[in-house]
């Protein structure tokens, strides 16, 4: 049943599926891979030397390098203009590219049209599997690195990933280029296996097959594409062995199995394999000790450290900051300074413009007029990840956690800015990469412990209780070692006891020298912890001062309770 060609095709299918996995793992759906593969196959067949002259293996190796390069170039050329597209739009645009390439190849003179070009058969099962092993190795080693986690974070929540300092555009383009390179490998291998490059092999059906293989195998585990390809290649073989010959039964059963896998095995076949993650043992005292809240900024020598502004320095200065949505003035001419070591409360009725204000401050929303200069960058003009890199870290009013990642992994992503890239060193098994990964893990575990959530380190973020999700968001924001921490309603949905613990935590952060901007509806909490309070109503600052003064201000009382009639 497992003939030589079946074995080869399992490997080829898996390699092609990896080119889909490369982008799906980062949350993008591209259907252009067949186009990359055909560009690569034709380029290498035309440019590679004759096997009779340089030998089979040498010719194939050269062809593979050419193909990989051509695939990458094609992916980058397509990726640059289409990177702003999302979801199905990206899928359709890339599909359109692949079809355009196919039609072009079909009609050009030098490609041999529909007949294609004939190619010597060089690829043996062994060669195909060696290439597959190399591709799988790349994805295996890159998974648990800073780069791999950044891609997963982008898949789960692009906005939050940007706020953690991840350059979303560059990472997405990187994933796209990887897809192009792998698809290029596939195109060349395919040509040297079936002895032919013809446009028909790189059509819409091929793209769908690759996507289906990747989805069936699972897009969150690196073995997924291999499992998917084995499953889908072997099914027709089994049917043939069972003597099922009727033309329609085979595609019907294949469709049925595909449906069953998608409906009943979310995450694909490989999604059954549990993800392992080790929680580091902090100071040999075992996990679960939440009492020790030693400074999280002091995390050993292996992390990049940030220079924090001395206590009392201005970290953010807003002048005349305004934001209009159509005719609605969400924020109007706000002037404000935030200093290191200060815990500034921002309160105001619903719709007062608090969230819009902090969105401008963290660079997510560009102001209509006025400027916000934060830690040396101009928010709104600099991209979100640049603002984060300057030292602004935040939580969101509605939790934006990376739901399918564990709590610890969420915090690891938060540490993106202070940890080192380990991808290249991990590919080479350098011991320093292991040390750096260990340091990142320890740092993340400390941040978790600081918010008292170390016990939940391996729990999926989406499965945590609401209060725990809020605390996890704070841990994730802390992991970036920020100079300015923005907390958008952290106590929402917490009970009295939890809110009390939270107040204690927030106070201790400011005492460590951080600037903390706290948006909160729980006025009791704000009065208890804040040094200074700013009250916003209808987008304007109506009062600023010590918590007790502000609470007594008649305009504030009016804003909250209305005027006495």
């Amino acid at each position: 049943m497992l003939t030589e060609s079946t074995v080869t095709f399992i490997a080829l299918g898996a390699i092609f599926a990896f080119s889909f996995y490369a982008v799906l793992n980062a949350g993008q759906l591209s259907l252009g891979q067949a186009g990359f593969a055909s560009v690569a196959a034709y380029t290498s067949v035309l440019l590679a030397p004759d096997p009779d002259v340089v030998g089979d293996l040498a010719a194939l190796l050269i062809a593979l390098v050419i193909g990989m390069t051509a695939g990458t170039v094609a992916a980058v050329v397509l990726g640059l203009p289409t990177m702003h597209l999302r979801g199905v739009f990206l899928a359709i645009a890339t599909l359109g590219f692949a079809e355009a390439v196919r039609i072009f190849l079909l009609n050009a003179e030098w490609t041999g049209g529909a007949q294609g070009l004939s190619v010597p058969k060089i690829v043996t099962p062994a060669i195909a599997w060696v290439v597959l092993a190399i591709v799988a190795y790349w994805f295996w080693r890159s998974g648990p690195t800073r780069y791999g986690r950044a891609l997963e974070a982008i898949r789960e929540d692009e906005l939050a990933a940007g706020a953690m300092g991840i350059d979303v555009g560059r990472h997405r383009l990187g994933a796209f280029a990887t897809a192009g390179a792998v698809a290029g490998l596939y195109g060349v291998l395919w040509a040297y296996t079936v002895r032919l490059v013809a446009p028909a092999d790189f059509g819409f059906t091929a793209a769908i097959d690759g996507l289906v293989t990747a989805m069936v195998g699972g897009t969150t585990m690196f073995v997924g594409p291999v499992v998917g390809s084995a499953f889908l290649t072997v099914i027709p073989e089994i049917q043939r062995a069972l003597g099922v010959e009727a033309g329609w039964i085979r595609p019907f059963v294949a469709g049925l199995l595909l449906l069953v896998v998608i409906l009943f095995l979310p995450g694909g076949l490989a999604g059954r394999i549990p993800r392992r993650i080790r929680v580091p043992d902090l100071d040999g005292r075992g996990s679960g000790s939440g009492s020790d809240d030693g400074g999280s900024s002091d995390d050993g020598a292996d992390l990049r450290t940030r220079e924090h502004a001395p206590r009392g320095d201005v970290v953010a200065r807003l002048s005349g900051l305004s934001k209009d949505y159509g005719g609605v003035h969400a924020v109007r001419g706000v002037d404000l300074e935030v200093r290191s070591g200060e815990l500034l409360g921002l309160i105001g009725p619903n719709g007062a413009g608090k969230t819009t204000l902090v969105n401008m401050l963290s660079g997510l929303v560009a102001p209509s007029s006025g400027t916000a200069s934060v830690l040396g960058v101009t928010a709104g003009r600099a991209p979100v990840h640049r603002v984060a890199a300057a030292g602004v870290s935040r939580t969101f009013q509605h939790s934006k956690l990376f739901d399918r990642l564990s709590a610890l992994e969420n915090v690891l992503v938060g540490g993106h800015l202070v940890t080192r890239p380990t991808l290249l060193r991990r590919l080479l098994w350098l011991p320093s990469a292991r040390r750096d990964e260990q340091a990142a893990l320890t740092h993340a575990a400390r941040c978790l412990r600081r918010v008292g959530m170390l016990e939940a380190a391996t729990t999926r973020a989406g499965a945590l209780s609401y209060g725990d999700q809020r605390r996890l968001e704070i841990a994730r924001a802390l992991a970036a070692d920020p100079s300015l921490l923005i907390l958008d309603e952290p106590a929402a949905g917490m009970n009295q006891v939890e809110a009390g613990e939270l107040a204690h935590l927030i106070r201790s952060l400011a005492d460590d020298g951080l600037a903390v901007l706290l948006i909160e509806h729980n006025v009791g909490l704000v009065r208890q912890v804040c040094d200074r309070v700013v009250v916003l109503n209808f987008g304007e600052v109506i009062a600023t001062g010590a918590p007790s003064d502000v609470a007594a201000d008649p305009r504030v009382v009016e804003a909250y309770l209305g005027t006495e009639a």
């Binding site: 597209l85 039609i103 469709g255 595909l258």
Partner: protein, 291 residues
Amino acid sequence: MQQLLNGLFIGSIYALFAVGFALVFGILDRLNLAHPAVFAASAFIGIELVTVGGLPFWAALPAVAVVGALLGLIVERVAFRPLKGRADAHFAGLISSIAVAGMLIALLQWRYGAETRRFPADTFPAVRFDVLGAQVTLLQVVIVGICLTLVVGLTWLVARSRLGRGMRAVAENPTAARVLGVNVDRVTATTFAISAALGAVAGALFAMNVNSAQLGMGSAIELKGLAVIVVGGMGSLPGALVGGILLGVAEVFAVQYLGSAWRDLIAFALLFGILLLRPQGLFGGRRARQV
């Protein structure tokens, strides 16, 4: 003039097909890739109804629409409803609808074999007119008429009727719609049924127009349908109509001036240009990103 009219005829079929895509995408935010399979299936079923069942063309079309609606209900039940609430519902819905499409095509192959089927020659009277110096057949006029009526009727339905209000409520926010007493499951199923019924009529008309039905006819029009909804604006019904006719006309002119080999490139050039310059499409509103 002749070219313009020819483009209009083929374009109106594209539009009718694409409207089905756009309806499901606009309301449920899902691409239903089983739509082309329904398109193909209904062409074969239409031919069988006429040849074996002896129905006249006029009676066969509504029958095909009913069959299409049933297929749409099955697609929704099997491929989309079980995925409700899953984090990866977007991608999974694509795959499950591809799976259902594969099964549907396999069943067609079982029932009708792999050969090309045709409507009998006398299904439709071969009447021709001269319009401004161009040749037009009665069939073409009827096709444009049916397509326009259905698309305009659907637009009215979505904009004005109680069902349409339910659809728009579900599109806006399914949870809120449910709280307000909209039966979300029923609205969803109805949307699929209407979408598939339109695709089915498009399939029968297409088979009539080119006088053949093949198993692969769905995949051939699938990419064009996708191009049309992108050009028109995902989920926009008038956009799908204008986009379809635009594509039909562009193709006909491409054949005349560039040669028939390049016809299929037009759809993708159009698609790409629109995506780069105006990603929301000609008629699509830009959706605000939520923070």
